[in-house]
Amino acid sequence: MVLACAVTAVAQAHGVDTATKDFLVSNEGLAIGPFLYIGAKHMVTGYDHLLFLLAVIFFLYRLKDVVVYVSFFTLGHSITLLSGVLAHISVNPYLIDAIIGLSVVYKGFDNLGGFKRVLGFQPNTKAAVLIFGLFHGFGLATKLQEFQLPKDGLLGNLIAFNVGVELGQVFALIFVLIAIVIWRRYQSFLRFSTVTNTFIMAAGLMLMGYQLTGYFTA
């Protein structure tokens, strides 16, 4: 028996597209390939995650530092993605996505030396990236939890999704890194870094406004 095509009437935070929805609703059992792809696609199109990463690597000049910070982010979001789905941890997707928006504002502000200026000290950046990573992971988890994925093959599918997320992250990061490394060769990078981080904060605030409105109205 076939259920109604339009599954979720409640407006989505940023969700998955229709074809992916149809797949996730109907799939039973292990499907490594599709989940891998869905994870990668979700990250590559996940502008909230990518904005945070951009803000994180903005002033990281050494590849070693990029690897370290991105690893903390990866660790954070993997922990909550896996445990969130497997342990059925239920969080409101609007609130989580609003916090993800907050993470973007936070790092944009941080890039301007905002915390040092306002608080007098620099909060541990690696810790911040890890902690916000946890929230990003819950955001990823809520997208999957909507579909009440069948237990059969869930662990394998979830790991495939997580690996896909990392592959998508690396893919997107390569482009961002190339662009930013080229830009850093020009004086305009430092000259426009304030404006850029202002836009990053604005984008984060837009995300927060969008998600919080959804939380209060839906």
């Binding site: 259920l3 407006a11 903005f58 504002v105 306002v118 605030l205 409105t213 109205t217 839906a218």
Partner: protein
Amino acid sequence: MTDTAKEVTHGQVSARTLALSCVGAVVLAALALVLFILPAEYGKDPTGVGKALGLTRLASTAPVAREVFDPEKPGNRQDNVEIVVPAGKGLEYKLHVKKGDHFEYSWSSDSTALYFDFHGEPDGDTSGYFESYAEGTANGLAGSLNAPFDGNHGWYWENRSDQPATVKLLTFGTYSVVGKL
């Protein structure tokens, strides 16, 4: 030499620049949200600019039913009805569908978003059992159903606002109309 004092991981701007930057970010975000994002995503348009730009149409367009009505199919019918859901009230509208029969639907509310439950009740049941196929709060929805059992299948709409809402319902497929309950 790895001198962490020289390790660059942050910028540092003056207090004035920081303040300007924060104010700028808030203003930019507020403008974008109020003028474009909220109208387009939620139909919330406090300034009217969203409506002028046509963005509010994005939030109120009811989804389109995917199949096309085929009058050649045996038992097929097509119905277009308007149902007024009074302010603060709920009501049901049902079709009688036999097990395995199929219909498509598309409904939209002319004003406020309505709580809805698209569900079915088996024939002859006295326990009050019903199976919910889709539930939520929306301005409209489109979909279809292959009836899992003989019975009355349809919608409960609840208007939680203080204005009456008119639901336009288009259905086509294999069923008979029970109507408002």
